[in-house]
């Protein structure tokens, strides 16, 4: 009883703190690329509109970055705090991958972040450009290594087990484990897409309010253009994730996310109300033929989707979160593709900057990419359960022997703090957007309160 409570609390704490964290990488990975674009255009054209955009988006980036950092530190410690025997068992592999993330990515981001945000006036334009590129590179390396770590947990490879501990045998197999490549691409595009809708929606808001039009026009045009390429690409990549790796290596997840118990359904379930204990659906709405066509690419409609009863009861993932996790990623994607197509049509007819209904729609779509990202992670992580390292280490065996009340207290603290933080961030972004990038003459760049003429001879300390 106490162990179950402890396990549930520890899982909830992880799930909530990870979901909170992932929100901010989703902002920063994409906006850092956008910052690079803005500054590069500014250096090429000397057009100050680009500089204004750079400074404006840098503010939203910077605050998001801070929240990403502090919430990331929480996750790092949590591996050991709440999952002590997991830390022991996978340290030589997952720990090493995240260590690589620290030395390759975090230091790089942090080292150049100060220059990016406070450096104007102290460093040259080239150096500024370089800093922006390094920060952006850092965020991408971070995505790389964290996905090495997590993908290895989904499809472990290249190890041997000694006294319970996973020890690396072949690093190439560990790093390029079967799911890493495709999941990395899926996650990276996902982050770019999420930031794309954010920037696009805020630019559209300026159209609605008829403010800062030169900046709004460029923001809208660039992001919609990029989204028209990335969203279709993501559908293709996502399909490879599902068909190429989930179906091959994590079949129980596929069974659960398609909402079937028996392997007889050739249709696609739209809504299910599953009863996990009785191993049946209380209610379901199914479109005939579609499951066979989309899932197995059998257009004759005769291939049934495998059902969860193929998997022994004790190691079945929960159907509810996987099924709806998948749907909450998939339906927003359908909406995205429709909007992107509408955007292309409007652009061809020269009405992209005047169609007000479209701008209002885009404002409403600001959170859509984040929804897909959360949903995708819920799908991937709940689909892996009850395993922590798929097929090898059970989540229930990895939890630290803490007192449930300790975890309840920490969980409560994190939830309260994070709610306050999320509120603050949203409030801050809304305020920054209301203030806008400014129309007047360009203001002085922000700078730390150091004397403008640095004294020679004061060596760096530390």
């Amino acid at each position: 009883m106490s162990h179950d409570t402890l396990l549930d609390l520890s899982r909830w704490q992880w799930a909530l703190t990870a979901a909170f964290h992932i929100t901010f990488p989703a902002v920063t990975v994409g906006t850092s690329v956008f910052l690079v674009v803005c500054y590069a255009m500014y250096m090429r054209t000397d057009d100050e509109v680009w500089l204004r955009m750079f400074r404006f988006w840098r503010r939203i980036f910077g605050v998001g970055f801070t929240l990403g950092v502090v919430s990331g530190i929480v996750l790092t410690f949590q591996f050991g705090l709440n999952w002590g025997s997991f830390a022991h068992d996978v340290g030589p592999i997952v720990g090493v991958a995240i260590l690589m993330e620290v030395v390759m990515a975090f230091f790089l981001e942090a080292g150049f972040l100060g220059l990016l945000i406070y450096g104007e006036g102290r460093i040259s334009r080239r150096m500024m450009m370089f800093s922006a590129c390094m920060v952006s590179l850092g965020t991408m390396l971070s995505v790389t290594w964290i996905l090495v770590a997590n993908s290895w947990m989904q499809t472990p490879a290249g190890y041997k087990r000694v006294n319970g501990q996973f020890q690396p045998v072949d690093w190439l197999h560990v790093i390029f484990n079967p799911s890493f490549g495709i999941r990395f691409i899926h996650m990276l595009i996902g982050a770019l897409v999420a930031a794309g809708w954010l920037i696009c929606g805020i630019s559209a808001w300026y159209f609605v309010k008829r403010r800062h039009l030169p900046i709004a026009r460029r923001g809208l045009s660039v992001t919609l253009g990029v989204l028209s390429i990335l969203v279709p690409l993501q559908i293709y990549v996502g399909d490879s994730v599902a068909g190429g790796y989930v179906a091959k290596y994590k079949l129980p997840q596929l069974e659960a996310m398609e909402g079937n118990w028996n392997s007889a359904n050739t249709g696609e379930n739209v809504i299910v109300i599953p009863n996990q204990d009785a191993a049946k659906n209380e209610w379901q709405v199914t479109i005939p033929w579609l499951g066979s066509a989309l899932g197995a690419k059998d257009w004759s409609g005769h291939t049934a989707t495998p059902g969860l009863k193929l998997t022994p009861q004790s190691v079945r993932p929960m159907m509810l979160p996987t099924f709806y996790g998948f749907r909450a990623m998939w339906w927003p994607t359908v909406l995205m593709i429709a909007v992107v197509l509408a955007g292309i049509a409007l652009r061809l007819r020269g009405r992209l900057y005047s169609a007000r209904w479209f701008h209002k729609l885009l404002v409403g779509l600001v959170p859509i990419g984040f929804v897909a990202i959360w949903a995708g992670w819920v799908l991937a992580e709940t689909g892996r359960q009850p395993w922590l390292v798929y097929g090898q280490l059970l989540t229930a065996d990895a939890v630290s022997p803490l007192k449930p009340w300790s975890v309840l207290t920490s969980l409560t603290g994190f939830v309260l703090l994070y709610l306050a933080l999320l509120g603050t961030y949203v409030w801050y972004v809304v305020r920054a957007v209301r203030e806008g990038p400014g129309d007047g003459p360009l203001a002085e760049p922000p700078a730390p309160p150091l004397r403008s003429e640095p004294r020679p001879g004061l060596a760096p300390v530390g």
Binding site: V63, V103, I117, P401
Partner: protein, 338 residues
């Protein structure tokens, strides 16, 4: 030498860099608690704003060098120190966010300022408490933690080390402000700095003397292999403390005011040497040693090569950042108040 001893170099490097770098910016946070003047406080925030993130990366590195390189130690010590470390994480969150709010002139400044100061204090305190809890000894059984949630307190011993850590960070913060400012701000930093030195000296002495009483760890400074290291450590530590006290007192040394920083560095060096001399090779006292806790050879080799190649690069660009932001704070009010 075993590869795990080599890896300990990185653990110690990360630890040292962290307490040195984040030490002074946490210390500055605590100092703002005593600073009533709004503009001077802003300048202090400004000193920290651009670099705390880089400094905190070293904390993440400590966690990862331990987890990846010494997984057994991480798996035992972190759950054992849960009640010290979770509040540290809360405080780190509050600190980072309040600083950005101050920097962006958003939110309600008096609140953000207070949150920043108090959370800096708590971070230091929790870290000291965790360190003390570890040093005095944690019970382990079969590769996992076997004590109760409050074992790390060791009858209040952890509170003593917590306070000592705060004194250390305040000293470092004063040294940094002293370097980066002049006039009234600098004088104030010197005044607080002197108090911190005294507290730190008392706290350190008490902390080491009380270890055998408080917990299950035994110290044996007289052992042949330990003695020279312990003597050297104590000597450097004491010299550093005396030098710090003097350099804060000496008005002539005020320009450019580097002396307290060097003194603080000596304090760190001496303290680390002493700790190493007393504890090595135990990583999670009383029983778990570096060698028992280490990752397998294949993992250590990979990490050592990759990290060894990257650390010089990291140090280079961090140093470049410090060089770009060199110079004293621009105390605009000096013209009017001086």
């Amino acid at each position: 030498m075993h590869l795990s001893d080599g890896w300990m170099i990185f653990v110690i490097l990360a630890f040292t860099m962290y307490i040195v770098l984040d030490g002074y910016d946490l210390g500055i946070g605590v100092l703002t608690l005593f600073e009533r003047d709004e503009r001077r406080r802003r300048d202090m925030f400004g000193l920290v704003a651009w670099l705390w993130d880089g400094n905190e990366s070293w904390l993440v590195l400590i966690a990862l060098t331990l987890w990846a390189g010494m997984p057994l130690a991480a798996g035992i010590a972190l759950p054992a120190l849960y009640i010290a470390l979770v509040p540290m994480l809360w405080s780190l969150i509050a600190r980072g966010v309040s600083l950005v709010m101050i920097d962006q002139r958003a939110g309600w400044p008096p609140l953000s300022g207070r949150v920043f100061a108090i959370s800096s204090l708590l971070v230091g305190f929790c870290q000291g408490a965790a360190f003390g809890g570890l040093v005095a000894g944690l019970s382990a059984h079969g590769g996992s933690f076997a004590g109760g949630p409050f074992e790390f307190l060791h009858h209040g011993y952890a509170v003593l080390t917590g306070v000592t850590a705060v004194a250390l960070y305040v000293l470092a913060g004063c040294a940094w402000v002293y370097l980066k400012s002049d006039g009234e701000t600098q004088l104030r930093a010197a005044r607080v700095g002197r108090v911190a030195v005294v507290l730190l000296a008392a706290g350190t002495a008490a902390s080491w003397l009380l270890v055998p009483v408080a917990g299950s760890t035994t110290l044996d400074p007289g052992a042949a292999a330990r003695l020279p290291v312990c003597i050297a450590g104590t000597a450097v530590l004491a010299a550093g403390l005396v030098f710090a006290l003097r350099s804060f007192s000496d008005p002539r040394a005020r320009r450019p005011g580097r002396a307290p920083v060097f003194a603080t560095l000596a304090v760190y060096a001496g303290g680390l040497l002493l700790a190493g001399g007393l504890l090595y090779p135990r990583l999670v006292p009383p029983d778990i040693t570096v060698h028992a806790a280490a990752s397998p050879h294949t993992a250590l080799l990979f990490m050592t090569i990759a990290t060894g190649a990257l650390i010089p690069l990291i140090l280079t660009y961090q140093a470049y950042g410090y060089w770009v932001f060199r110079g004293k704070v621009d105390l605009k009010q000096e013209a009017t108040t001086a």
